[in-house]
């Protein structure tokens, strides 16, 4: 202890700083920063990093946001419209007011990309490998895109006259305008992917051999209409849904459906056909479905839109017979205790110019089954966790393999398979990175978010929806899109709100500057846990100290 001669009277010790007192020793728990997986990202079948691109969009970096989407999904214009957005069902914001309208922002970004002419990044060096993709639906396109991004040459063989699969010949244009589909596909073509149209593959092994391909990705979808046996005296009156929707696309002979159209089935396809019939001038479009609305596989919003447009549904009804002059015998059903529809014997008559069967689709497994080693089960092609069939070097994905049948799942399969093919070409296999813990709602502190309800997308006038194929749901403008992006809570990942830096009573959080996040000063952190409790997005965890 020094006694400076200049020290005032009665002061015996120099003044020291409390920084000498390392209060970190008091701690029994320590705060740690972590990144948790946002539930939206976790739910996206295409594996988009939604939160990351929303964050870029939120700051007005639309191009950066679009490139972030393109890392995982080559078809944002299509996704922003046709995807059933499971991300939004998972979005934590729904527990505050309503989910972030992720699809609407995605759609806005793709509109913007087409306006501005942004192009995806493509490596200039080629690997020397050449991969054959069979089928140009979303799954084939996604695989081709990702393989091209991984440096491989890709050729697509497509049986149809244009590329796109069900995005072209299934999903009606009032939900998915064709110029959007074309533009999204053109972008892949411009990356150097070769498209060979009107080329139906019959012998996979022979094509692979003939073209000198190193690997094959099959994505032929499920196009064969399911038939239910219904006694009929006039078979010409009975069409199948995929056939009708397909013919809508081939300009010359649009299907003649007549004034009264009965659609049999309860899925999205049934709804699409009924809505299409309305637009083709049918006075009545009646869906006949054997169960009730709760059990209907069609999505609620699609059913709502159909009802708005005047589509009629006969719930709990089956078709028994199609007779002369379009007289249809239907039977009323009732649900038993297990919720299964049972016949009641009560009959009724309907009249129709056309009956359209929308009872699901099957895969054309026959020519695939001829390939050695390929296993077929439940009318689908079996693949392993690398999306490889039993035939080495032949991979498959999309509707033809067992899984949910959506555009987005197909895109996800294509991406995963591309990575697996890339690995297989190097005698390796693709291992998906392990998922971090999910940032559930209970990890958040919702106080810090203002109430900001979802922006409502405008809809086309109902009268016009009944007569034209104009797009039903309108897009967002820039102001709305920005607002929507800013509603994202950034679940599980620090967005530099400065809360932890502010609320620490011990100044034990060090702010590193914009974009650099924060650090704890464990010399002084007492482990009170306020920072973790007050982090809005759940990016801090308290872990016990080893004592």
């Amino acid at each position: 202890m020094s006694l400076p001669t200049t020290a005032p009277f009665a002061i015996t010790v120099d003044v020291g700083t409390s920084l000498n007192n390392h209060t970190g020793t008091w701690r029994t728990e320590r705060p740690v920063y972590l990144d948790r997986l946002p539930p939206c990202n976790n739910a996206c079948p295409a594996g988009e990093n939604i939160q990351a691109w929303l964050a870029l969009a939120e700051e007005g970096d639309y191009e950066g946001a679009w490139h972030e989407i393109m890392k995982n999904n080559p078809l944002p214009g299509i996704m922003g419209r046709a995807c059933y957005h499971p991300c939004e069902n998972a979005c934590n914001r729904k527990d505050i007011d309503s989910a972030v309208s992720i699809h609407a922002v995605e759609r806005f970004l793709d509109d913007e990309s087409r306006k501005q002419g942004w192009v995806p990044r493509v490596p200039s060096d080629l690997s020397g490998k050449h991969i054959l993709v069979i089928g140009s639906g979303p799954s084939g396109l996604s695989a081709a895109y990702h393989l091209r991004r991984l440096g491989h040459a890709v050729t697509i063989y497509e049986a149809g006259p244009v590329a796109g699969g069900m995005m072209r010949f299934g999903i009606p244009s009032y939900r998915l305008p064709r110029d959007v589909v074309e533009a999204n596909i053109k972008r892949i073509e411009d990356m150097g992917v070769e498209f060979v149209l009107n080329k139906k593959v019959e012998d996979i092994a022979a094509e692979k051999e003939a073209g000198g391909f190193d690997a094959v990705f099959l994505a032929i979808g499920a196009h064969l209409a399911n038939r239910a046996y219904i006694p009929s005296t006039d078979a010409s009156k009975i069409l199948d849904a995929v056939g009708v929707l397909h013919d809508m696309e081939t300009a010359e002979d649009k299907p003649m459906l007549g004034r009264r159209v009965v659609v049999y089935g309860g899925g999205n396809t049934a709804v699409d056909v009924a809505r299409t019939a309305k637009r083709m001038g049918a006075e009545e479009a009646i869906i006949v479905y054997r169960r009730n609305r709760d059990q209907m596989p069609a999505h609620d919003f699609e059913m709502d839109e159909a009802l708005e447009e005047g589509v009629i549904v006969n719930w709990l009804t089956t078709i028994k017979e199609v007779g002369d002059g379009g007289k249809i015998m239907v039977e009323k059903m009732e649900l038993d205790d297990n919720g299964k529809p049972q016949p009641t014997g009560e009959m009724d008559e309907l009249e129709a110019d056309t009956v359209v069967m929308a009872l699901g689709q099957n895969v054309d497994t026959e020519f695939v089954g001829r390939l050695e080693g390929v296993e077929i089960k439940d009318k689908t092609i079996q693949v392993d966790n690398q999306f490889m069939t039993g035939h080495p070097g032949v991979f498959a994905g999309g509707d033809m393999v067992p899984s949910e049948r959506t555009v987005t799942v197909a895109v996800g399969h294509g991406k995963h398979a591309a990575r697996a093919i890339h690995a297989w070409l190097q005698a390796d296999s693709y291992i998906k990175p392990e998922k971090p813990e999910i940032a559930d709602f209970d990890k958040l502190n919702p106080w810090y978010y203002t109430d900001a309800p979802e922006t409502v997308q405008e809809m086309l006038d109902v009268e016009r929806r009944k007569s034209t194929f104009g797009e039903v749901v309108e897009g967002l403008d820039e102001t709305n899109a920005l607002y929507e992006a800013r509603r994202c809570l950034s679940c599980g990942n620090c967005f530099e709100c400065d809360n932890c830096y502010g609320v620490c009573p011990d100044n034990a959080v060090i702010k590193l500057g914009p974009g650099k996040r924060f650090e704890f000063d464990y010399d002084f952190c007492k482990g009170c846990g306020i920072c973790a409790a007050e982090c809005p997005c759940g990016a801090i965890e308290m872990v016990p100290e080893e004592i």
Binding site: V13, D14, V15, G16, T17, S18, L19, N20, N21, H22, T23, W26, E58, W447, Y448, Y449, T450, D451, A452, P453, Y483, R486, R487, C488, L489, S490, F495, E496, C497, D498, N499, Y501, G502, V503, C504, P505, D506, N507, A508, K511, G513, P514, D521, D523, F524, K526, G527, C528, G529, I530, A532, A533, E534, P536, M542
Partner: protein
């Protein structure tokens, strides 16, 4: 030092000003607003008037409240300020001799005379011609509403140019949680032990509402604040510094030790006390209320009481239940008197 900005409390209240920026609107920093309108606490060059290594308990609301208030005052005055401090936790945990946490001129006096000492400091500065050096006095609720009350009233009456900040943790914490005139009815302290059903903690009907008493002195500025509402607190300190004469800010600061709550509950309790209506946030000028902060998400008083062991006994007897009802009635009364449930424009433009 940054130059003082021209914000006022009213136009800084986030739900009135920031409409479009949803993400983190209520956070310490909001990177979507202009750098100028962000909180002092979010800046990398805040003065940290109380530096690390102080001996406040884990999660101390007083340490936090004092840093919030003083860093703002430091920013506004460009560092030209000094503080007097009454005895209490804030004084003891920052200056165990020979260490100090203070990063500003600071003077300790006694438990009961901080306002008088501050008046003297102000007079001394005036005598030295340093009229631009501003004086702040600070104390705990005990030092303010009880023993220092006479000095404080005198300072108000003389309208000395001092900002007095009371850090209210609702008891004498430094000496082991004894009741003060600011301890709420029903609360357990070392001197108001709930001994039997007829004595459920601190009695009701006594105690002092010091912000109202300060207003009765007609001083230029009086405000209440809570550590959970940083924007509001900073704006009030800034506003206070724009006045000359006697000013008073009463800051609500939870005490995990004295209240028997988790150390991480400091901010959430400071939020709940406002959202229940128990502690209304308002400003007054020259004796009249000029602004109040509406409740954003109303909650019943139980939600505030339950996380605190000092109220645990209330949930165990009919008499306790009566006490809870009385507390709820106080909230309801505040909500009515201060119009705390009125509509606000929080919705985005």
């Amino acid at each position: 030092m940054n130059k003082p900005s021209q914000r006022t409390a009213a136009d800084m209240a986030p739900e009135q000003k920031v409409k479009f920026y949803q993400k983190g609107t209520f956070t310490v920093g909001n990177r979507l607003v202009d750098a100028d309108s962000r909180n002092v606490q979010s800046s990398m060059d805040r003065s940290n008037a109380i530096t690390s290594g102080h001996r406040a308990c884990q999660g101390c609301g007083e340490a936090l409240g004092a840093r919030y208030a003083l860093d703002t005052a430091m920013r506004v005055t460009g560092g030209k300020m000094m503080a007097a401090n009454a005895t209490g936790c804030l004084e003891v945990f920052t200056t165990p001799y020979p260490e100090t946490s203070w990063q500003m001129p600071w003077m300790h006096s006694l438990f009961g005379n901080a306002p008088a000492v501050a008046s003297g400091m102000q007079a001394a500065m005036k005598a030295k011609g340093k009229t631009d050096t501003r004086i702040i006095a600070q104390g705990g609720d005990g030092g303010t509403v009880d023993i220092g009350f006479g000095c404080l009233s005198g300072m108000f009456e003389r309208n000395d140019d001092v900002l007095y900040i009371c850090y209210d943790n609702e008891a004498y914490m430094n000496t082991g949680v004894q009741r003060s005139g600011a301890t709420p009815g029903g609360a357990r302290t070392a001197t108001t032990m709930p001994t039997d059903a007829d004595h459920p903690g601190n009695v009701f009907g006594t105690g002092k509402n010091l912000p109202r008493i300060a207003m009765a002195h007609n001083i230029p500025y009086v405000a209440t604040a809570s550590v959970a509402y940083l924007q509001d607190l900073e704006a009030k300190v800034e506003k206070a510094m724009s006045f000359k004469g006697a000013r008073y800010i009463h800051v609500y600061v939870p005490c995990p030790l004295g209240w028997g709550c988790a150390s991480n509950a400091t901010i959430s309790l400071a939020r709940l006390v406002v959202e229940t209506g128990m502690f209304p946030l308002f400003e007054a000028e020259h004796g009249a209320v000029t602004s109040t902060r509406p409740i954003r998400q109303r909650v019943p008083i139980e939600q505030y009481l339950k996380p605190q062991r000092r109220f645990a006994h209330l949930f165990k007897s009919p008499q306790g239940q009566e006490a809870i009802e009385k507390l709820q009635a106080m909230c309801d009364r505040n909500i009515k008197d201060y119009d705390l449930l009125r509509e606000t424009e929080e919705t985005p433009a």
